[in-house]
Every structure is written in structure tokens, then in C-alpha cells.
Amino acid sequence: VIPFVRDSTGITARLTSDEAAALRNLSGQLVAMLLDRGAQVHGDAAAMLYAQAGIGGGEEAPLDPALARLLPDAYREDPEAASEHRHLTERGLVDRKVQNARRVGADLESDRSPVVVRLDEASVQAWLRTLTDLRLTLAARLEIVEDGDEGQVNDEADAAMLTIYDWLGYLQGSLVECVSTSLDNRDASDGRGTLDAPGR
């Protein structure tokens, strides 16, 4: 079964009820992890004021490798600039990631099996980002650090996590195929793609 199918009116996701439940669960865990980070760095009154103004965030990169990968430093060799930038932007980044994951969870609310979801443009973007964030999180847990790395699998739980990681990659790849085809059609219709991609 191909999980994402594109037709003339848009993109449709088709998942079994078990798959949909698993993805809802993972999205919920991602939300919890991100909210936890938010709570840690917005605990005091000054932080709450910043938060109401829509800015603010930690000044240090998260210690948890998964969160550190989701919320990386913007400056690699300038800790002061990285800290300042994080303080101004991290909250917004966390909020958007939370909204994306919640949207995926909400899209999957269904009593039917298979779960068939029609994704509008906003949902497509939320799904692309959340699938990525979930894969980054699982990869950090599995200690996948290099290209071609299969991760540290020490027990059945790790093996299950690796299976989910691969499945999310399959979902992601399928969705990216769909949206890339949309871009190909856009480029072809305005004549942009023809010079750049001969033979396509």
C-alpha cells in the first residue's frame, strides 16, 4: 500500500488504524517532549512575560540529544551569538513544532480503518516537518550519528524503535515524492523546469 497518493485535487494519506494510532501516539510524545522543554526554560515570571510577547527561549542548548538536534544552535563557533539567538527564537520554534505535531495528531482522528486523510497544504507542511522531527528524535535515541548508521540496537525495545524509524522514513519518502511532483508540475507550467532538468 502506498501511504500517500497525489491526484488532481491534492494529497491523500491512507493508513491502517494501527498505523494511525502509532503515529498519533508518537506525535503526542513529541508534543510532550517539546512542552517539557518549554516549561523548563519559561518557568519564571520574566520568562512568562517574554512568552506573552511571543519571544524568549533557553540560553543554553538542550542537554537531551534529541531536543538538541530539534533546536540546534544557529551559530556554530560563537556561543554568545548562539545563546542570544536561542533566547529570542527558541520559543517560536518550539511552538511551531508543537502545532505541527498536534495538527498531525488531529488529522489522524478517525474511527474508520483504513484511516484516509485528505491533506490540505497546511497539513502537508505540518506532516513533512513532524515526520522529520520524529525521525530526528528516534535517530538520537538510537544513536544514529553517521550516514549509513544502523544505530545501537541492544534489546527488543530498540529493535521496535528501529522498525518505527524505518517506517517513518518510508512515509516521509512517499510524502516527499508527492510534493516534489507538485513542484515539477509547477516548474513545467511556468517553463522553469525545462532548462534546469533536461530529460524529465
Partner: protein, 99 residues
């Protein structure tokens, strides 16, 4: 080789500054073992508006060289790009273009 007189020297320094003045900062995307090649290409196409072939070239540069400069310009603009890349889950940083 001639010695510079003071007025010439300032001209040379101005030219030097000019080189970096318009594009003083760059956005760099770093390789990671997680993001799919077609996803990275898609992000470069849809966010930066690169043609398919250029997006593919930059993606392969990230893959093989470990990183690629994907944009250059003012600092605030590069900070926005980096934040957008983090939204997509790509690992990006900004730095001075002459760093």
C-alpha cells in the same frame, strides 16, 4: 610593484569592504544521517525557490562534502533562513562569509 599613497590605500580598503558588504553572511546546511535526500532537495526548491537541478546539486554537496552554503546576504535575513531550516528539521547555521 608600487608603494601605495594614502589616498590609494583608502580606495583599496573600500573595495575590500565592498566585496563583503552586500553578502556579508552565509547560511550553511550541514549533513546529517537522518534527512532523506529527496526531502533536502525539496526544501531547497520550495523554500529558497531553487530550480530542481540546483537544489539537487546543493543537496549532493551537503551529502558528500558535509555542508553547503545555500544562501548569502544580510545577517537578519540569514537568521530567518536558519530558523526556517530548523523548522524543516535541517541542521543549519549562519556565519560571516569571510570567516
Amino acid at each position: 610593484v608600487v608603494e601605495l599613497v594614502e589616498s590609494d590605500r583608502s580606495t583599496v580598503e573600500d573595495l575590500d569592504r565592498l566585496d563583503h558588504r552586500d553578502q556579508p553572511w552565509v547560511t550553511i546546511v550541514w549533513n546529517d544521517p537522518v534527512n532523506l535526500m529527496n526531502y533536502v532537495s525539496y526544501v531547497f526548491r520550495s523554500y529558497f525557490g531553487y530550480p530542481a537541478a540546483e537544489a539537487e546539486r546543493l543537496m549532493l554537496l551537503v551529502h558528500h562534502e558535509g555542508r553547503a552554503v545555500v544562501a548569502s546576504g544580510g545577517r537578519e535575513e540569514m537568521e530567518r533562513h536558519v530558523e526556517a531550516m530548523h523548522d524543516y528539521g535541517l541542521w543549519a547555521t549562519l556565519t560571516r562569509s569571510d570567516a
